[in-house]
């Protein structure tokens, strides 16, 4: 049976709080943790198939043009080489998140340096890699491809422009104002597991082991690219070694592996090299942002302006949604916002963890810090004074909104000093030490989700969906939700993920996974409880389940009487999104030291206080926040994609030269989770967590750098050279 629920209004019943098992919210370790650390959880490239051949992608060495010929004879005689595959169905870019259709195909047309154009298949990986490098390719290059986003005419992204009141007037009349331009550089997802696929055909049926985040969309993307039916495709991705947006859509290796396997009539594995992952998956666009803020004597915003320029390849619909939270985070009657896209020939820009707020919030929050300084108001107080009652652009109510609590509780826990904030007041040897803060915001999303929950005759539960766990904790929180609802300890709840033979989940992305799939599981359990209640002779509301016993009487095994009981939970976001603005909120506080000789900045400690609805597992939730804060530190201080100015290729395309923070860069980190239930966000009152931890954090660090040494930087990341250049004498 199906338990379908479409959410058109708030769900105030908070049923999870009334259950008896006591596992929901608990800081339980990940149920698949042991398998992962003992190497028994297989990742995409680790499956074994008899007679498997190995494919290596060949990539373009021009920026724009066409492949005029590939001299396959030059490598076919090499030992072990089986084929050079050139097929117009091969894809040249990764699909954007939730595309549900094939991305750009026809690999003979080149639109960025490093684009896949062919696949070499050999008996061994080493043979294929060598042959891929030896292949002679001739191009018809089209010179003059634009590479610099600020040197080309840009186009306005539709639906993003807001003009309300008269910002110019508000700026002119303001008691205090700031008008700053802030740049952020490109970021890479840099997930630990590289993109990989193993394709295996049985007749016309394809099974693909892959490293993907959203099988529910990926199956359609793959079928569309290959020109086959979804029914003939099975995707498997039970374990995914990180995605951060880079695996939302199918990438080039998946389609190439499927085509090669069909052509050679044997399984084919294609694993991208680390350099290929950097060069042909997704980049977060660099941004060029202008912030205009105007306020009255009390620091109340009267004008709010945020204009951003981002870039992407021609033909890509995605534009880094920089303004996403700017639309509602703070008030101000006179508003002007715009987002423009420059078409340039760098690799595809797409979703990288927290698309939009990851770069929009740091810029906004640096500007807010400057406004606080102008107005002589404590930065925490300035934010508190500007929390709007309703969404200032759409005049909608907010769902549960915890920004004020996060600011207050965070300031208290951090030991925030609300006194005067003159820079360079604290010195320790060669180091200046300062503090800074910033707000956090990230829109809340949910998505349609289905999951089958079965009570097995032996009194255990089985949960099945094609939802993925990309390291976030989906296995564990599903076991907790189902355990709580059905009165079972988590080790009695088996969870099967990452297989398209199971019902369609929402996929992992946009931080919507837990709230969406968790709500579907909740619906299924609710229906199962009804049936059990009938068997006990009571109502669902009166049914108490704990440790496999119902209402201190019959056991589940007795109630099931040798027969399985199963429900398909189906959750659909309804019209409620039109009636409320729902978002996660938070606050960051940082203490940073800056070396007065070398300009090196190091984070001593950082605290994030967050309100994101119900916490399903305090440990996995905290881990998400820690990860987000780590990304904040990278975005603030080190991470930057560097592109060659002449051909647009990505130069720092490995983990040695793309500088994510290392352990030593992460000082003391504290996470404070503010108690919250959001009945609008989802039937389980949970909101998204995964991305909020990096939505503004970089600004807390930038503001602390200013407070430490007086260097007010407007360019992320704040590397030693930039800090030295901005140091006042």
């Amino acid at each position: 049976m199906t338990a379908h629920f479409k959410q058109d209004g708030p769900v105030e019943s908070n049923r999870l709080d009334g259950m008896k098992q006591g596992v929901i919210g608990k800081a339980l370790p990940r149920v698949e943790g042991l398998a992962k650390v003992t190497g028994t959880a297989p990742y995409a490239a680790e499956y074994q198939a008899a007679n498997m051949a190995e494919g290596v992608l060949v990539t373009a060495t021009i920026t724009r043009g066409t492949v005029s010929s590939i001299d396959t004879q030059s490598v076919l005689a090499m030992p072990g080489v089986l084929a050079v595959i050139q097929d117009s169905r091969m894809t040249t870019r990764a699909a954007q998140g939730t595309a549900g259709q094939a991305p750009q195909q026809e690999p003979q047309t080149v639109s960025y340096w490093g684009q896949p154009i062919a696949l070499v298949v050999a008996e061994t990986f080493e043979q294929a890699r060598d042959a891929a490098k030896q292949l002679t390719i001739t191009y018809d290059a089209e010179e003059g491809a634009p590479l610099d986003p600020q040197a080309v005419e840009s186009e306005a992204k539709e639906g993003q422009t807001v003009n309300q009141g008269d910002l110019a007037h508000a700026m002119a009349e303001a008691a205090h104002s700031v008008d700053v331009t802030i740049d952020t550089e490109g970021h890479a997802s840099a997930a630990m597991e590289p993109h990989a696929a193993i394709a295996q055909w049985e007749g016309d049926k394809l099974t693909l082991y892959a490293s993907l985040q959203m099988l529910n969309y990926n199956i359609a993307e793959l079928a569309d690219a290959l020109g086959i039916e979804e029914e003939d495709v099975r995707l498997r991705a039970p374990y995914v070694g990180g995605g951060f947006g880079s695996k939302l859509g199918i990438s080039e290796e998946a389609v190439a592996a499927a085509i090669a396997a069909k052509q050679l009539d044997r399984p084919v594995r294609v694993v991208m090299s680390r350099q290929q992952v950097f060069q042909c998956i997704m980049r977060r666009s660099e941004t060029h942002q202008r912030l205009r803020l105007a306020c009255d004597d009390d620091g109340r915003l009267t004008g709010f302006g945020h204009d951003a320029l981002v870039s992407n390849l021609p033909g890509e619909a995605f534009a880094e949604p920089v303004l996403q939270s700017s639309h509602f985070l703070y008030g101000g009657d006179n508003r002007s916002l715009s987002l423009n896209v420059a078409r340039i020939h760098r690799m595809t820009a797409g979703s990288v963890r927290a698309p939009g707020e990851a770069v929009g919030m740091p810029a906004l929050e640096v500007a807010m810090d400057q406004l606080a300084e102008e107005a002589g108001i404590d930065p925490v107080e300035l934010r508190l004074r500007n929390i709007p009652e309703r969404n200032p652009e759409e005049d909608l109510p907010f769902s549960s909104h915890k920004l004020a609590e996060c600011l207050r509780q965070g300031a208290e826990a951090f030991g925030w000093d609300s006194g005067p904030r003159t820079p360079r007041q604290h010195k320790e040897g060669e180091w200046w030490i300062g503090t800074g803060m910033a707000s956090a915001a990230r829109v809340h999303n949910v998505s349609e989700a289905k999951v089958r929950v079965s009570l097995i005759a032996d009194g255990t539960a089985l949960v099945r969906t094609d939802m993925t766990d990309i390291g976030t904790g989906t296995y564990t929180i599903l076991a907790q939700i189902v355990g709580e609802m059905l009165g079972l300890p988590v080790d009695k709840v088996m969870v099967e993920l990452g297989d398209t033979q199971n019902p369609r989940g929402p996929g992992s992305g946009g931080s919507w996974g837990a709230a969406s799939i968790g709500s579907a599981a909740f619906m299924a359990c609710h229906a199962l409880r009804k049936t059990l209640a009938e068997r006990v002779g009571t109502s669902e509301e009166e049914l108490s389940l704990k440790d496999g016993i119902a209402n201190s009487g019959p056991s589940l095994v007795e109630l099931l009487d040798g027969k399985e009981l199963s429900e398909l939970g189906h959750y659909e976001p309804g019209d409620i999104a039109d009636d409320y603005t729902a978002s996660g909120f938070g606050a960051f506080f940082a203490q940073v030291r800056v070396n007065r000789f070398t300009g090196e900045a190091r984070v001593d400690r950082m605290l994030g206080a967050f309100g994101f609805g119900r916490v399903l597992n305090a440990k996995t939730a905290r881990s998400q926040c820690l990860g987000g804060i780590t990304w904040s530190i990278g975005a603030a201080l080190t991470e930057s994609l560097m592109f060659d100015p002449n051909d647009g290729h990505l130069v720092n395309c490995d983990l040695a030269e793309y500088h994510m923070p290392v352990h030593r860069d992460i000082g003391e980190v504290e996470v404070l989770m503010v108690e919250e239930r959001d009945p609008v966000a989802s039937p389980i009152q949970a909101k998204g967590i995964g991305e909020l931890g990096m939505c503004g954090g970089a600004a807390a660090i930038a503001n602390a750098i200013y407070n430490a040494c007086g260097a007010r930087l407007h360019h992320f990341p704040m590397t030693p050279d930039r800090i030295l250049a901005a140091l006042p004498d």
Binding site: T61, P79, E126, R129, D130, K133, S273, Q275, E430, N595, F597, T598, G599, E600, R602, L637, T638, M642, F643, D644, P645, N646, H649, V651, N652, C653, A656, E657, H659, M660, P661, V662, H663, R664, D665, P717, T719, P720, D721, L724, A725
Partner: protein, 328 residues
Amino acid sequence: MKPFQYTRPESLVHAAQLSQDTEALAIAGGTNLLDLMKLQVETPDRLVDINRLGLGEITENTDGTLRIGALVTNTAAANHPRIRADYPVLARAILAGATQQLRNKATTGGNLCQRTRCYYFTNIDQPCNKREPGSGCGAIEGVARLHAVLGTSTECIATYPGDMAVAMSALDAAVHILAEDESERTVPVRDFHCLPGDTPWRDNVLEPGEIITAVTLPPPVQGKQIYRKVRERSSYAFALTSVAAIIAMEGDRIARADLAFGGLAHKPWHDPRLSTLLVGKLPSAALFDEAGDLLLEDAQGFGENDFKIPLARRTLAAVLAEATETEI
């Protein structure tokens, strides 16, 4: 990676003889060489494995010098009690490099011979005079953040990326080299690496058929030893600039100032004029400035790396201030 033959010779001389073939390369820890082979930057026909040939010892000589075998790992060298006690600048330089896992495999000889991290050198689809003589230099008109500001040529602006050798240059250590004809020679570390000039493919003075057998450190000297490495993240990153310093005072005056710099040139940069300038002087901000002027008088930036010039000056001042306990 191109297919290659793997040989494990019985003796050092045999290893040297096998390495004489221009298509052969010695392999020690492999942490640099194997990465470059996977990228098809290095394409040897033959790998000559010099592990297990007895070069893994650190020995104390009667004249007070310390001999570090070419196969001594970075971890073993950095943790050796004599090196920690008498040559802390070396221990610190080694520990400032790479990661623990890499240092466990990396060897003394391999570290001296590690190749540049220039982004164009490691990408075979880009021009690079070092990798492919005559193909041009991608970095000069491209992204030159890591690149040199001293001793560059119109052919190549790459840096020698290592840390260990910078400390060895300050210490004035010597490299022992064995040739295929069993002859041996000793070259000061300061002369071991080359400037790019019009032979950018040449990193150092090793000829085909020559193998490094050891590095000898001179007898310990008095003074403070400092290794300061500047980088945007605090580990697992090559130096934007680094300074190795051995500074001794006599009363108020500087009595010894041996300095070497990393991240600035195609070799660990040693400028003997700095010692001449500093020795005998009273330390002061003005003197440190003068030292910076002298060090960088011929420095030339290439856009993205212009910052290295002020950064090197400031880092030098910081190190001199620390070593001489001078407030600046």
